[in-house]
Amino acid sequence: MDWFLANWPRVIDLAGSHLYLSGVPLVVGLVLSVPLGWAAVRWRASYPAIITSSGLLYTIPSLALFIVMPLILGTRILDPFNVLAAMTVYTLALLVRTVADGLSAVPDHVEQAATAMGYGGLRRLFGVQLPLAVPVIASGLRVASVSNVSIVSVASLIGVSQLGDLLIDGYQRVIYGELLTGILACVVLALALDRLIVLGARLLTPWQTAGGGAA
């Protein structure tokens, strides 16, 4: 506590970077995983290929991915963009399957009704399928947000600052207060993101919370 009180401006600063480095990829990853997940459902033959290959991305060790990114992107080693790109890859790895699952979970009779009404292509995706997939996608997004908050701390090892700095510094110099602050700040950040996603999902699915059963 003493350590936090003495250093809180720096902690807030690092938490901001942490949020930026884990949150932006969450959004970008979500946007990118929609077309991929949709394609996997739309063309069933492509499902195994898309789902397996995107899932495999998650097994790449994060440090390796951070280091390889500059080679792929042609960026400088210390560029935070490397971290953003790598985190987007992890988000994508988790969300493509979720989006595909969410889209396939739309009840058959609803899909058929949509077809019969003359819904096609994008209007069908945005008007019927995605809104109904929100609960499933939101649950995947919650997993991805926790995963991002945790993985991104490794970026300290390649010199991109965020809360991970406190963990490494606290560990190396045996400052328990710093170590503890780093851990707690990560947990608080993860919880806050989680609440935000839950809230967003609730706002997008008023039909799920509409009170009262059948009249």
Binding site: Q112, A113, M117, G118, Y119, R123, P206, W207, A214
Partner: protein
């Protein structure tokens, strides 16, 4: 008019769902496809709006080959109702109803007005408009399904077992309202059911399919009941088809007897064994035994309510049932406003039945002989 011309559907796994189906659904009439589960009813229906493409043969709408139309456009011009309504769970009732008008690009206000209007047309409380489908009963959802199909006022409606998921009482009510609505709207309807009673009640024309997707017989209901083309159809329409056919025979030949009656709340003066009780508007309420009531006014607890009441302008089936169910053995008949007109005895109904003519059998074409032609007349 919808015309199936030698339509066959074979699925990639080799199942022949529909086999060489030729059929005309006349404009403004209800054509019912009926048959056991798996006989290709749904497949036939979905080939009309091209949710399924035929393997062979073609379907035309008012003479235009549907195969050449844009599928999405074709569908927006055809109302479609399915079992469990298939409502969009994430949209309010009003937004569900407005689906097709929105897809057609109507402006927002017009969509909203039309959706409200339809809520009323299908007999739903305007308050339900802002609810979500899960907040409605099965019967209400089904009504919303019908309203949604009607929204853009399509000339053609396809209905796939729309009433089979609700309980029998609600189903009966929905069927009656559906017929009343169709009387006003005069849509060209293809209606699918596995329930022969529903088929006979609703169909202007009934097509019986058998497993394998072949047409066993298509005819007006009374013809179907009188002249089943083969054993399969005879079995399917059921053992009591003779009795059921009576529902198409109207009862003008019946001579009615005037019936003494007592208004509820008054003391019976007659000493007959059974006396009919009516309300102030002369609507029959039930029978009483004056001997049991004695010298006090008739109360509603005294009423025997076992007897059914039939419309004098209704079917012979209704009149016969009224006579058979009456404790006095006299069947109560009322006019269209429910006012007592008289009674009739079972043997008199039977005499009338014996005098009715059965539809004449077409010896040349047992399968299509009783079908309607394009204009909706007997072919």
């Amino acid at each position: 008019m919808i015309r199936f011309d030698g339509v066959t559907k074979q699925f990639p796994d080799g199942t022949t769902a529909v086999d060489d189906l030729s059929l005309t659904a006349p404009t403004g009439k209800i054509t019912v496809l009926v048959g056991p589960s798996g006989c290709g009813k749904t497949t036939s229906l979905r080939m009309v709006n091209r949710m399924i493409e035929p393997t062979r043969g073609g379907i035309s709408l008012d003479g235009q080959d549907t195969g050449r139309m844009d599928a999405a456009e074709l569908r927006r011009g055809i109302g479609y109702v399915i079992q469990h309504a298939g409502l969009f769970p994430h949209r309010t009732v009003l937004d569900n109803i407005g689906t097709v008008p929105r897809l057609l690009g109507w402006d927002k206000k017009k969509v909203k007005d039309r959706s409200r209007e339809l809520l009323e047309v299908v007999g739903l409380d305007p308050k339900l408009g802002n609810r979500y489908p899960t907040q409605l009963s099965g019967g209400q959802q089904q009504r919303v399904g019908v309203a949604r199909a009607l929204a853009a006022d399509p000339p053609v409606m396809l209905m796939d077992e729309p009433f089979s998921a609700v309980d029998p009482i609600v189903r009966d009510q929905l069927q009656d309202e559906f017929l009343r609505l169709q009387d006003e709207l005069g849509k060209t309807i293809v209606f699918v059911t596995h329930d022969i009673d529903e088929a006979i009640k609703l169909g202007d024309q009934v097509a019986v399919l058998r497993v394998g997707g072949t047409l066993a017989q298509v005819a007006e209901p009374q013809y179907l009941l009188a002249h089943p083309a083969d054993d399969f159809v005879a079995d399917f329409v059921g053992k009591d088809r003779g009795y059921r056919a009576l529902q198409f025979e109207h009862a003008p030949r019946l001579t009615l007897h005037s019936e003494p009656s007592v208004v509820v709340g008054e003391t019976p003066s007659s000493r007959a064994s059974w006396l009919l009780v009516v309300d102030d508007d002369r609507t029959p309420l039930g029978w009483v035994e004056p001997a049991r009531v004695g010298d006090r006014p008739v109360a509603s607890e005294d009423l025997h309510r076992g007897g059914t009441v039939a419309r004098a302008s209704g079917s012979l089936r209704g009149a016969l049932d009224a006579a058979l169910s009456s404790p006095a053995r006299r069947g109560v008949l009322v006019d269209n406003d429910g006012v007592l007109v008289g009674t009739v005895r079972a043997h008199e109904v039977l005499t009338a039945i014996e005098e009715t003519e059965r539809p004449e059998r077409d010896e040349d074409d047992p399968v299509h002989g009783g079908a309607m032609d394009v204009s909706g007349e007997r072919g």
